[in-house]
């Protein structure tokens, strides 16, 4: 395996295609998790959103990186709808806004660039949804993954190492939502009855980081 030190737009496009395929593949599993503590459609709506993104990604990829990520985000907001659409869409529009402000024109993103883009996305997701760590939402998976990316960047890690760690952090963050009482989303109405159930949005987030990890590990020079 060769170490990857930058990602290009075509890498990002392939990653988005793989994430879309994975979400569509896991549709029923995600909906079932949502039936336990929500209204049972998380997988369906996420699959609708990412299905639409994968149909349009070729068109979006004609734009610069920032414009492409922004289009992806808004398509998710529009097609997923609800709180999930807004937060998962903001995961991409947030990355786009950092890129447009600080990296415009750059075609090869370093781990430092990507970790800063994710940090901004995390900040905007938290502002948009009002959720913090421990509230039993996708933030419980996203925040540890983003913190780990920042640390990996400081440690001089490769993309593969950084995303392996981040995926691990996202997954364990998602698992930890089982012991949480929800403060947001429809699960909050359940109070302590939500204990023992994993948050489906956190699982979707973990899946995304795992897809990126697997993609990076497969890359050859």
């Amino acid at each position: 395996m060769t170490e990857i030190n930058t990602l290009s737009k075509s890498n990002l496009v392939e990653i988005i295609e793989r994430i879309s395929a994975e979400i569509i593949d896991q549709k029923d599993v995600l909906s079932r998790l949502d039936t336990e503590i929500g209204d049972g459609d998380h997988g369906f709506s996420m699959a609708t959103g990412f299905g639409s993104v994968s149909e349009k990604i070729v068109e979006y990829s004609q734009l610069p990186i920032g414009g492409m990520l922004k289009k992806i985000g808004f398509e998710l907001i529009k097609t997923i709808g609800g709180a999930a659409g807004a937060v998962f869409g903001t995961m991409y529009t947030g990355q786009a806004s950092y890129y447009d402000k600080n990296l415009a024109g750059k075609e090869h993103l370093s781990l430092g660039d990507l970790s800063m883009m994710y940090s901004e996305a995390l900040r905007q997701v938290k502002r948009r949804g009002g959720a913090n760590m421990g509230d039993k939402t996708m933030v419980d998976a996203l925040e540890p993954a983003v913190v780990s990316l920042e640390q990996s960047h400081l440690d001089g890690a490769s993309f593969q190492e950084a995303f392996s760690m981040a995926a691990e952090q996202a997954r364990s963050g998602a698992e930890e939502t089982r012991s949480m009482v929800a403060k947001h989303g429809r699960a909050k109405n359940l109070g302590e009855r939500a204990l023992g159930y994993i948050d489906p949005g956190a699982v979707s987030t973990a899946l995304m980081f795992e897809v990126i990890r697997d993609y990076l590990l497969e890359q050859r020079p």
Binding site: D39, G40, D41, F44, G82, A86, R128, N189, L190
Partner: protein, 340 residues
């Protein structure tokens, strides 16, 4: 799942299409799936915009029209539209009304509030004059004292009706907001489910209940409430529990007049609703609370969930007058004849 649908992913589009085709005198679809009145409100009157998930028919896509709202942005099943689409709805109302102030109604659900927030930011960035009211009424979802955290349930019909009537009369947006905010904070709703619904997009049951169990406090998407199931009893006993909680939470007193809604959640018969109302009327009499022109039927539904909710709201002379004001929409009509 046993439902008469085609492809799950086409439900949203086919449902709205069928509604509009069957009611062309009331409704029309424009732009990217925006639902509007066939005959727009006269210019200069406040425009009321609403975006919510579908699957609750007739609320509120089938209740759009004269005396109610002007533009609806239908979302997906139980999932509100994305913020950029709600913004499109606001923008449409703004442009077509020659820049009349817009009132955005938002039912208090996380997705609706977040996307409403995105839409408000986008619209205000462009100089559109829009204000929102967040509607809540469900006493099961947050304790007394934290009313603004409560979910929007069937009782928000009171706010829709009063806002719509005032806009029709040419009242200013500030006046509408003042009155409707009071209606909203004075509305109390509690629901009961006796059998679950399946989500039409996934075919999954929202919850399971034994034959002799009911849930008190479920949401309009069939979300279970904070309490576990309890044993099914008679209509009167169930109404005793529900009415007692609603009356106590809303601090309804002897001498009050109240708007009343018994809302069926989809599979409950009018027969059952009238039996429930019969007991409610007795309870209200005992408490010396006077019901004013109760509304009974399936309005905000949760697919084939069986159950109902009770909503009450204090009504003074002005509220009663506005409740009686004419409305003419496909599935919600008040004729002028209601005044006797």
């Amino acid at each position: 799942m046993k439902k008469l649908i085609n492809k799950p992913e086409n439900i949203a589009q086919e449902l709205i299409s069928g509604l509009v085709k069957s009611h062309p005198q009331y409704l029309k679809l424009v732009d990217d799936n925006l639902l509007i009145r066939s005959t727009p409100k006269s210019k200069g009157k406040v425009q009321i915009v609403f975006g919510q998930g579908i699957g609750h028919e007739p609320a509120f896509d089938g209740m759009l029209g004269f005396g109610m709202h002007d533009v609806e942005i239908p979302g997906n099943i139980f999932t509100c539209s994305g913020g950029d689409r709600i913004y499109e709805g606001i923008k449409y109302a703004w442009e077509k009304s020659n820049h009349t102030p817009i009132l955005l109604l938002i039912a208090n659900h996380e997705g609706d509030v977040i996307n409403g927030g995105i839409a408000l930011e986008m619209a205000r960035d462009e100089g559109i004059d829009v204000q929102e009211i967040i509607l809540y009424d469900d006493i099961a979802s947050a304790p007394k004292g934290e009313e603004e955290k409560r979910r929007g349930m069937a009782g928000i019909i009171f706010s829709f009706k009063i806002a719509g009537a005032m806009a029709e009369e040419g009242k200013s947006r500030d006046e509408i907001i003042e009155v409707v905010s009071k209606i909203n904070s004075g509305t109390r709703t509690l629901a009961v489910a006796i059998s679950p619904a399946t989500i039409p997009t996934t075919g999954q049951l929202l919850f399971t209940l034994a034959d002799d169990e009911i849930i008190v406090g479920p949401g309009v998407h069939g979300e279970a409430g904070p309490e576990g199931p309890m044993k099914l009893s008679t209509a009167s006993e169930v109404m005793n529990i529900v009415a007692e909680r609603v009356l106590e939470d809303g601090d309804f007193q002897a001498g009050d007049e109240v708007l009343v809604l018994i809302n069926g959640s989809g599979a409950t018969t009018l027969m059952e609703m009238f039996i429930l109302y019969d007991r409610l009327d007795e309870i209200l009499k005992e408490k010396k609370v006077t019901p004013y022109r109760p509304l009974i039927g399936n309005y905000v539904t949760t697919q084939e969930m069986a159950g109902f909710s009770l909503s009450l709201c204090k009504a003074n002379q002005e509220v009663k007058r506005l409740w009686d004001a004419p409305a003419n929409t496909p599935y919600f009509k008040v004729s002028g004849g209601m005044n006797d």
